[in-house]
Amino acid sequence: MKDKRPVNLAIHTMVFPVAALASIAHRVSGVVLFLGSGGLIYALGYALGSMAQFEQVRAWLVVPWVRVALFCVVLSWLYHTLAGVRHLLMDLGYGEGLVAGRVSASLVFLSTAILAILMILWLCDFDLLRMLSL
């Protein structure tokens, strides 16, 4: 029998705990990876075919929208992996408390952001090694 109690689905009016944001981001990044991994696997296979095909893939990666799509997939991979490690640690019993959950979720977002910035800098041919050795 259908439940007749009222529901509040106006999620745009709600403020979410950081752990909740971490969780939905984990799910979204998972879907992006599902959609994107096919392209990545296909590109790998094609690039392995011959030197000419490899160069074709390299030429593809310079096209702007391809770069953006690749960045989205790699960013998702980065985030999903870090958030996944957080999940595994919680499965082992580490960081299951309220404050610990908040801290670890924030750490995951922060480290993803840092690595993403480093990635963008590298993509823009910034001299990363020289910057890091300063």
Binding site: G30, F34, L44, L48, W77, L88, W122, L129
Partner: protein
Amino acid sequence: MSNGTNQWLLQRFSALILLAYTLYLSCVVLAHLDTPFDYSHLVSLYKPLWMRLFTTLTLIALAIHTWIGMWSITTDYLTERALGQIGNGLRLVAQALIVLLLFAYLGIGLSAVWFQI
């Protein structure tokens, strides 16, 4: 009793395999950051037998891990409660398409690693 324990374990186990592969590829990327990466480098990366086997294992782990994840998502959102009568049918169709797509990924990946080089 079907209580999801097997899926829970498979999800974690496949995650560890995927993590290992991710870490290995990251090391390769970091090693090549400032040097040009060309066809010969890619081939020498995937030519060794152990790397082909590792990649094969990872491709299978990817299919399992992704299926469990997408199953969770489809059973969360494509439901009768959310979408009415059509919900069940949509979910089953979506799950079927997902399985086919995952099989395609596996096939393309295996052919890349065993038949392309």
